[in-house]
Symmetry: C2
Subunit: 350 residues, 2 copies
């Protein structure tokens, strides 16, 4: 006999992103702030002055993508169990994308899921990581291969934190802003070519436009079954670079910058983008001090590494290729010889 | 400024439970069967004869609740990465509740969530673990404290597997059947008092009635914010017993049996249940060879351990207490002295 389990349901995972000075946050439940020593030293006092809850635990994780692993998740979970947190407790992610991804993942699996709030302190996290609910960790097979979709209850993107960002980290955030413009918004790209992002108003405008673009895409395709995959522009190549360099040589945004240039080369080769458009993208990235070249030791090995990336279904690799600036194509029909031709150009000493 | 992320959505997580001989299962994608040496030896050939997929990996985990931990999850995930599984691959849980919980959890976090199917081989898993989408693992702080809600795509409960079940494991399944009857269905309880579950038709009827009851509860309250908590009847006490005995002395269903008797004692003490009803429940459990007593070394320590259980919100413990047979009450207002009085009776040598 057959018994139906009827679980059709409507879920409201909507939330708001506040691009403003952090207001006082009041919670009537236990709160744990997850952060790292760098952010803590600079900004923890600022946050605690604005956080009002019966219990506030601070959980420190070592700083860096290299620690985006299960051990760090266990550190978060164990601290919560020690402090007798429960299903109504709240996690606050206070840091960059790494802290956000791990805190969100810990929240998604602690007692089968609790609430979390994001307070991103880097430009990259404000424009990208804080929108969309992707959480997770790396393992030896690659980046973000273990994780969950878990939406935050709210995001507070306070420009205050960006003032102390090292130049390199700021640029890494700009890379994701450029990504959003190239894939979805030609006007935004043209605006970026002349904008001065050291001006706070221009920066807030850039953050807001990026967030709105991403929000529109994620609302249409939360689980990345179609359109959302376009946001991986630059990431297919970038993930392999991060993996080859053990997540230590580059910041995530830097590998995305290189990856976008590689994807553009492939798009130009396949006649989807003009060489002059590819040059405009490269020039914008370089103006912000971003790297646009990576020396590939072994193009065949680089190619093989694509298959470990979760975006590749079975024996095909999915590439995100610009169709000019402001439009994008998701394709898994690129021939290996075309990819290798592009990769081989990076194997030569520049 | 504030930007809205609009993620209201309708989700169809419905699925079917088939209580019948296993049909041939055809899949056009890579499949990994997660099982243990005991089940594999008895039934893997039977399953593989009925499984048609381009790739079938078999992942063996060590047998037992003691291995329901992160190491086993990593074993599953690593095997999948080695075999280049991707987001469209499928996991099959082939075993009892432990295998089902771990396979479901691995499916929920592999590349942020893939499909899984349950083929429960124990009575307990057929009536209980396979309905409701709870997945997870244990840690040093307690049972099922880490996990996710992740619904299977289908459940196949084949009576064939129950024939080889050791007597003790069969009885452990009966404990969950009794739980369902005491909490929600007095007629079902009366039927069980005279039923002969060694008769295949009676057994199928008992499985179906349990599954239907649980399905009704879960459909109303998937995330256990209210009614579903009633299914934890016997578990509040049972989890502490499992924890104190390191998950080795008892089967899960056995601790539920003892836990139900303890919960009944508390209900009788508080005037919610008559002593004769409590005796009927105890007698039914004993007729099936289930334990109904556990020697508590230290009632205070036992009481303290409740607070580590995730069902306890902040400083209160939630108890599920029968109001007679067939009805139940969820309460967090029981006084400590009443609980200690009940626990102390178990501290005496019987």
């Amino acid at each position: 006999m057959t018994i139906d389990i009827d679980l059709k349901k409507t879920i409201d995972d909507s939330y708001q992103i506040h691009i403003d000075a952090l207001p006082v946050l009041q919670y009537a439940r236990k709160v744990a702030v997850v952060t790292n020593p760098t952010v803590s030293k600079l900004h923890l006092e600022y946050l605690l002055d604005r956080l009002d809850a019966p219990v506030v635990e601070v959980i420190l994780l070592p700083d860096g993508e290299a620690y985006k692993n299960w051990e760090s998740i266990e550190t978060i979970l164990d601290a919560m169990f020690e402090a007798r947190f429960n299903r109504s407790s709240l996690l606050v992610a206070f840091g960059g994308g790494v802290i956000g991804d791990m805190t969100g993942f810990a929240a998604s699996i602690f007692q089968r899921g609790i609430d979390f709030v994001q307070i991103p302190t880097t430009l990259l996290a404000q424009v990208d990581a804080s929108v969309g609910g992707k959480t997770g960790i790396n393992n030896t097979y690659g980046k973000n291969l273990i994780g969950a979709f878990h939406q935050p209850k709210a995001v507070y993107a306070d420009p205050h934190f960006l003032a102390t960002l090292p130049k390199r980290e700021f640029a890494a955030g700009v890379a994701e802003i450029v990504k959003m413009a190239v894939t979805f918004d030609a006007d935004f790209f043209a605006w970026l070519e002349t904008a001065d992002l050291s001006d706070p108003d221009a920066l807030a405008e850039a953050v807001a436009r990026s967030v709105r673009t991403k929000a529109r895409v994620v609302a249409q395709d939360e689980k990345e079954r179609g359109l959302r995959a376009a946001l991986n522009y630059g990431h297919t190549f970038g993930h392999v670079i991060e993996n080859e360099t053990n997540y230590t040589a580059y910041l995530h945004g830097e590998t995305v910058a290189i990856g976008m240039v590689m994807a553009n080369d492939l798009a130009v080769r396949l006649g989807k983008m003009s060489a002059s458009e590819a040059s405009r993208v490269k020039a914008l990235l370089q103006r912000h001090g971003l790297p646009t070249h990576y020396r590939i030791e072994d193009p065949e090995a680089f190619y093989e590494a694509f298959f470990l990336d979760k975006k590749s279904a079975d024996d095909r690799i999915t590439f995100i290729l610009p169709r000019g600036i402001g439009d994008v194509e998701i394709t898994d029909t690129v021939r290996k010889e075309d990819v290798l031709a592009v990769l081989s150009a990076y194997a030569e000493v520049p």
